[in-house]
């Protein structure tokens, strides 16, 4: 391997190694009290299961909201859209890409939470639901982008053959094109899931950050919300910091694992 490539691989590898090194003291048996508990609340409770469940639930919810929109937009832009509508929709999605996560979180805090507060006044509107809505908005461009690419990769002959048999354009695209691109479309959803699992800021602003079991409309925790809130507060080399590094490894494993799975399906 040549010098610059070796340097880049080394630096990025060291990033992962540092995280593992920081987590090692907490990975010895019985180092962390209640590791599989539902609440991460130092100094006496280091339960990873609650935040882990919260992360998976919020990503699944976000994909339930963003998946159909992103895949639908991808199918439309990748095979059907032409002219002004295509440019408008494409431009809108590109614009959405440029809006930072923290602004999405800020907008959801300003406009979504007050509405949810009416529905669930006890929890102040916080919970997995508002976090999933914000996350869904952020994930749409990722899903749409890969879905549109998958549709563009469908051989034109397949759709032309269907048209020649008398099917309409919409029926040909949906019946033949989508069937051919289904691996690519599922890859788009997986890559969107990978992004949703790793997102921290917007989720932290909306999830409520209370060490309770995950709930749709009550303050909860996710892996990333715990890390955003606590990593800067923990004393270096303390059990708390090591426990947070364990949560970091879980986030990395989930996000990179799902993304790698998505990339392999391509």
């Amino acid at each position: 391997m040549r010098p610059w490539s070796a340097l880049v691989v080394l630096v990025t590898g060291a990033l992962v190694a540092t995280l593992v090194h920081e987590a090692l003291p907490a990975l010895v048996p019985r180092a962390l009290p209640e590791l599989w508990g539902m609440a991460f609340s130092p100094p006496d409770r280091f339960g990873a299961l609650g935040p882990l469940t919260g992360s998976v639930a919020v990503a699944a919810l976000a994909l339930a909201l963003a998946g159909p929109v992103g895949v639908g937009a991808g199918i439309y832009l990748g095979s059907l859209a032409q002219g002004t509508w295509a440019r408008l929709l494409s431009g809108a999605i590109d614009t959405l890409t440029g809006v930072p996560a923290v602004v999405v979180g800020f907008l959801a805090t300003s406009f979504l939470l007050p509405v949810l507060r009416v529905v669930a006044p006890a929890g102040g509107g916080y919970g997995l639901l508002p976090a999933a809505v914000a996350l869904g908005v952020m994930v749409v461009p990722t899903v749409e982008g890969f879905a549109a690419d998958a549709m563009r990769a469908v051989p034109a002959d397949l759709v032309a053959g269907s048209l020649a048999l008398g099917a309409t354009l919409e029926a040909s695209v949906l019946g033949v094109g989508v069937a051919h691109a289904r691996r690519g479309l599922s890859q788009a959803v997986l890559l969107g899931t990978g992004r949703a699992l790793g997102e921290g800021m917007a989720v932290e602003m909306l999830v409520g950050n209370a060490p309770h079991p995950p709930a749709l409309l009550a303050p909860s925790q996710t892996l990333t919300s715990v890390l955003v809130q606590q990593f800067g507060l923990a004393q270096p080399r303390s059990l708390w910091a090591h426990a947070l590094a364990v949560l970091g490894i879980l986030v990395l494993a989930l996000a990179a694992g799902v993304s790698a799975l998505g990339a392999r399906r391509a």
Binding site: T12, G105, T109
Partner: protein, 255 residues
């Protein structure tokens, strides 16, 4: 001689470019304090870390592109693709350990810029690689076949031909860095700089970090939070739109 004359010249050029970037950043910071009272300091800090991070990430990204321009995609690309999925939050945690704690840089704009460079490194390297592979590789291959040295082919043929695509990669990297919060809250701090511009070794909240901080403190309805959100949206969207790839644009969206 351990270092060739050319390497010395390159080092001197790099040092001069970095010096010019630091001086330029300080001038821009001073101007922005005057132009945008209230959030001027944060806007200046945001632009400073973005410029410095791009200056730090460009040499390795271009280096990888030069080395692998004529190679088939292999383990390096696979590894970069895998680590490019690393969440920014994880990069921020590592940057805190490396730059703030171990290197002793503390909460500073320099730590923030290095953290952003670390975050953008796989993305920029992959983007640069795609850019130089897309444009005029065949012309470069022809020159190589005629015996022109690889470095010269890259400098004189590939780089000029792919300048537009490389600029768009840089703009997309800048868009990612400008709106980034997780890396900077762990490296540049959450408190805004005082009324006068401080050096790059001082900590300062960027627009994104300040917006997160204000919203978390229940002050998300204030004028400062709204000003931060407006600047972040306008500049973030402008950078993302300017950096849209010309061909197959959708592949890069949302990364």
């Amino acid at each position: 001689m351990i270092l060739s004359r050319r390497a010395c010249a390159l080092c001197a050029l790099g040092a001069a470019a970095l010096g010019a970037a630091v001086a330029g950043v300080n001038v821009v910071r001073g101007a922005l304090f005057a132009l945008a009272p209230g959030v001027g300091g944060m806007l200046a800090a945001s632009l400073a870390v973005v410029i410095l991070s791009l200056a730090a990430v460009a040499p390795p990204a271009l280096g990888v592109a030069r080395e692998r321009a004529w190679s088939e995609p292999g383990p390096v690309e696979a590894w970069l693709l895998l680590v490019s999925a690393t969440p920014a939050l994880i990069v921020g945690m590592t940057a805190l350990v490396w730059f703030v704690e171990r290197a002793g840089l503390g909460f500073s704009l320099v730590s923030g810029a290095l953290g952003l460079a670390l975050m953008n490194l796989p993305f920029a390297a992959l983007g640069a690689l795609q850019a130089v592979r897309q444009d005029e590789r065949s012309a470069g291959t022809g020159a190589l076949a005629l015996g022109v040295p690889e470095a010269r082919v890259f400098r004189d043929i590939v780089l000029p031909a792919s300048a537009g695509a490389l600029a768009r990669v840089a703009l997309r990297a800048a868009a990612r860095a400008f709106g980034e919060t997780a890396v900077l809250m762990f490296t540049a701090g959450v408190e805004p700089a005082s009324a006068s511009p401080r050096g790059l070794m001082g900590g300062s909240a960027t627009l994104a970090v300040r917006l997160w901080y204000l919203t978390s403190q229940g002050q998300g309805t204030g004028a400062q939070a709204r000003a931060c959100a407006l600047w972040l949206t306008v500049i973030g969207v402008a950078l993302a739109l300017a950096g849209r790839p010309r061909e197959a644009p959708v592949t890069e969206r949302g990364r």
